[in-house]
């Protein structure tokens, strides 16, 4: 095949990829601005930003947005705090311990959300947290800790333990080894873990629905409800709003990691 044809083929592939990635988002954007746009109309009857405004002005919608943000941030922080030492202990432990931890973490990630949700619903109800934000947070933590434990298990499996040994014999206490050596070197994996933890919670529907019992409203649940009730414009605005924090969090994680020396990730 000639070089020219290869280049054309590559261009077509790239264009198709961009189209697949952006077309749904463009359609969502148009829908979120279009009022009364029904089949077979080619263009909407009217265009406005009402649905976007309601995201922030409507109290119920704002509450759902705040709940989503609170759950996302709390899940990211708590899951990272739990998964980091867990992944480290597993990586530095015996092969048996490593396998068990990896299996449990993978189980929490791989289990179908509905099955996990039903199991967690019973647990949360027993704990007296059914229908509460704390109960939903607990439920979100299960897959998030699973994901992040796998992340940190990978990180610490490749970790150079000589760094800590060197620091120790140079006089650094356990706390100083964490603050002066480990944490600075782990900035990138920690940033990635926070982003991943946030996104696991942010996109969660099944667990929120089953454990929250409809009493805890989050943005994804609101979007689903609007879609089911035919409020396409609002649903589209909500769906797009769901992608914004995800992009912001990923971007922030990249920026935070940019100046970090990548020794482990």
């Amino acid at each position: 095949m000639s070089r020219g044809r290869t280049r054309v083929g590559r261009g077509i592939m790239l264009a198709a990829l961009i189209l697949f990635a952006t077309a749904p988002l463009l359609l969502l954007l148009v829908t979120s601005l279009a009022r009364g746009w029904f089949h077979p109309q080619v263009v909407p009857a009217a265009v406005d930003v009402r649905a976007w405004g309601e995201l922030f002005t409507d109290a119920a919608r704002r509450g759902a947005l705040v709940n989503s943000l609170v759950l996302g941030v709390a899940t990211a922080c708590i899951a990272t705090l739990l998964a980091l030492p867990l992944g480290r202990a597993a990586a530095l432990g015996t092969k048996g311990v490593r396998r068990i931890v990896a299996l449990l973490a993978f189980g929490a990630v791989a289990m179908p959300p509905v099955a996990l949700g039903i199991g967690l619903q019973l647990t949360v109800l027993t704990m007296g947290l059914g229908g509460s934000l704390r109960g939903v947070l607990f439920a979100h933590l299960v897959p998030a800790v699973g994901y992040l434990t796998l992340v940190f298990l990978g990180v610490f499996t490749q970790w150079d333990s000589h760094l800590e040994e060197a620091a120790a014999t140079l006089g650094a206490t356990g706390r100083e080894r964490w603050t002066l050596v480990l944490l600075p070197l782990l900035r990138r994996p920690i940033a990635d873990a926070l982003a991943l933890g946030f996104l696991v919670s942010w996109a969660q529907v099944a667990l929120t629905l089953l454990v929250g019992g409809g009493a805890v409203r989050t943005l994804p649940l609101d979007v689903l409800a609007m879609l089911q009730s035919g409020q396409d414009q609002r649903a589209a605005a909500g769906a797009l709003a769901l992608t914004i924090p995800a992009l912001v969090v990923l971007g922030a994680a990249r920026v935070a990691a940019r100046n970090t020396t990548a020794v482990v990730a």
Binding site: T169, E176, L185
Partner: protein
Amino acid sequence: MSLEVRGLAMQFGDARVGAPGMPHTMASTKALRAPGAATRADVPADAPSGLRDITFSVNGADCLAVLGVSGSGKSSLLRTMAGLQPRAAGLIRVCGRDVTALPPEQRSVVYLHQEPVLFPHRSVIDNVAFPLQVRGIAPREAGRRATEWLARLQVDELASRMPQQLSGGQRHRVALARALCAEPAVLLLDEPLASLDPAVRRDVGDALQVARRASGAAMVLVTHDLDDALAIATHIMTLGHGLQTALDTPDALLAAPPSLSVARLLGIYAELAGELIETAAGTTFRWAGGTVPSAETTASRARGAAVACVRAHDVHLQRCDASGILIDDPRAPRLTVVGRRDGVSEAWITLRDAAGANIGVRTGSGTDVRIGDGVQVTLRHARIFSPD
């Protein structure tokens, strides 16, 4: 600055059991003295296999080289002294203070890994100032002292670089500067010259000499290379079969290795099989190439099968003349040169005796013998041991 180790025992990865009842040589010197009787009794009967009965002391500015084959527990010994690995028994004192139960950061013992471990997120100057930072020394003063050590090791121009921007030799020097900046009482070096190319090896070797003189720390260096040990150490200890097998100054050890295994470990002797016999002149070593009178041997036993260890400069090869008459000693057996391999300063000559057996000897590379020559071999000095 001093390090004292008594009856230390530890387990290590691919452990070999210390042979029970095997004595360990303890040739004491003034600077390096076994500080007490052997402490085998301190080791529980069910102690894990590995090293045991390790006893020595190193004074400030002295350097003890620990020689042993791969897997003999050299690195484990260092790691145990640094507090990075548990011990099964024994005592470790630094400057007279018992540090056996202390964590690594409280021992004043710095351990340098074989591959220099620099913190990749800190610049060279920040790496070197690290031990001062954790001691709470003001940043300006820490920076001044760190710069001073970098200058002593001739890498001060690298202060602002990151570790990833350094060459292998520079990394070694920076790691050494950082270790010395910690002002340790004891500096432990794990094969610092291994895996370095010759130029860098010399460079790092020089830096270690500077470090030894400038710091006053007691140094322990593990290596499997005698040249490395001779370049830096003031004393040598050998390990074998899970035990300490020799401890002496380099000169004393090379002149009189205490056992065949130590001689083999030093790797500078040719081994000649033969026997010790009684003659009118006294005990004589007889081998395929002739006899070595008692005046030229140091025998550890009386009679029977024996092995002579001879250094290259003590082996003299004399070619037969054209008529086949041996020049030096007409009674000595004639051997035939069947192989020759030349090194920088030595030649490895393979000889064949009348019975067809091959014998390998080392000699100076200037030896004027060729394959096919008939030769007479004279041994000037030989250490005689029982065969294994």
